[in-house]
């Protein structure tokens, strides 16, 4: 975290406390009622959707959200005391989930009210079922499914069939497309 000097913290006093330095892709959709707090950088990739009442907390470190990812209402991403959070592409963070992980791989779904602890590393195409937990500093392999009170298994269908992954990506792109027509974009609020 300290090895690379962050580009922003030289002049933090110029920015209002409520508005972190945001780099939002022009095609990202940020709902009017989404909350972005903290003083660290926030990067949101192309076609990402941030739903109303989603919270992005760049209080303890950067928050990066990849392209075609979705953050649903009431989900919290970011840490309050140290640590960047990097979310990959095609990721779904569902309602009420709390993600404080170092990174979440591409194609992963964090379901309703699931918790991914601080310092965890979640691989690609993982699924964390509703109300499940990934403990702090835990590393989750690619294609892992966390379900049924902490049990784990490998999702062989997604692992062995590239076409399944392609279809999932396509589905996500269509979901983003649907959201584009339904959620008014208020990204300008955070960039200006």
């Amino acid at each position: 975290m300290t090895s690379r000097p962050a580009p922003v913290p030289k002049r933090p006093s110029q920015l209002p406390v409520s508005k972190p330095p945001c780099t939002l892709h022009s095609s990202a959709i940020i709902a009017d009622k989404a909350q972005i707090t903290g003083s660290h950088a926030v990067e949101i990739g192309e076609n990402a959707v941030i739903h109303p009442w989603a919270r992005i907390r760049a209080e303890g470190g950067r928050v990066v959200i990849g392209k075609n990812s979705m953050v649903y209402e009431g989900a919290t991403i970011g840490t309050t005391d140290g640590g960047d959070v990097i979310i990959g592409d095609y990721v779904n963070i569902e309602t009420g989930a709390i993600v404080e992980a170092i990174s979440v791989g591409d194609g992963t779904t964090v379901e309703v009210n699931a918790v991914v602890g601080k310092g965890a590393v979640v691989g690609q195409w993982c699924k964390i079922a509703p109300l499940e937990r990934v403990e702090a500093d835990e590393e989750l392999e690619d294609f892992m499914v966390v379900y049924g009170d902490g049990r784990r298994r490998m999702d062989m269908t997604t692992k062995e069939h590239a076409e399944v992954r392609e279809l999932k990506k396509e589905g996500q792109e269509k979901a983003v497309q649907a959201m584009r027509t339904l959620i008014p974009n208020a990204a300008a609020k955070w960039t200006s």
Binding site: G74, T95, G96, A129, P130, K174, Q177, L182
Partner: protein, 205 residues
């Protein structure tokens, strides 16, 4: 369910806004797309509840009979209670090459416990859902069911009438049996789970 006593009947700002049909909506409820939400009457939406009425079926005028009128995304019946910090979001799936939201229906006298996430296709009447449950997309809950707290109902699951379900993932663990929703007539008992919730709705101020 202890509530702070009402000191003055007409305080400057009451917790609930009451509509003409007797619905009580908390001022602290988080509602998007209210033009797409139908409340039949005498229903309660408590503080912190999130209703995503903005996620409705778009376009598709040929199959939808309505012309220009608002399309309901969330339909809630009479005397139903949506507790604090619930989320009601219509389910979404791929249909004819497009992601489409399907209207979410909740029947009469349904109780949704605090912190529960509802993305079901329909919940029939006299259903009692406990606290912190997750009703995944497209699940269907039929009449007079009881969902115990902390249950995760998987997507597309259909729960037959009169079942008790629990667990992660949810399984049918029993039946509600005779007398579901009928009070035993005990002292001070005004409403029971699965019964007529109007006394409960009346007591919420």
């Amino acid at each position: 369910m202890s509530r702070p006593p009402v000191v003055t009947r007409r305080s400057a700002k009451s917790e609930y806004i009451e509509t003409d049909t007797g619905n009580k909506i908390s001022r602290r409820a988080r509602i998007e797309g209210k033009q797409n939400i139908m409340l039949a009457g005498k229903s309660v939406v408590m503080a912190g509840a999130t209703l995503r009425g903005d996620l409705h079926r778009k376009g598709d005028k040929s199959s939808e009979g309505e012309k220009g009128g608002p399309i309901t995304a969330i339909n809630i019946g009479r005397a139903s209670v949506i507790s604090t910090d619930c989320t009601i979001r219509p389910p979404m799936r791929l249909s004819r090459g497009q992601m489409t939201f399907y209207p979410l229906r909740i029947g009469d006298n349904v109780f949704i416990g605090p912190g529960t996430h509802v993305s079901a296709l329909s919940i029939s009447s006299h259903v009692h859902v406990g606290a912190n449950c997750v009703l995944s997309p497209f699940c269907v809950i039929k009449e007079s069911c009881k969902v115990l707290p902390d249950t995760v109902v998987p997507s597309h699951m259909v729960i037959p009438p009169g079942s008790i379900v629990a667990g992660r993932p949810a399984r049918v663990v029993g039946e509600v049996g005779e007398g579901w929703g009928q009070g035993v007539g005990g002292e001070g008992e005004e409403w029971v789970e699965g019964g007529d919730l109007r006394p409960l709705v009346r007591s919420i101020k």
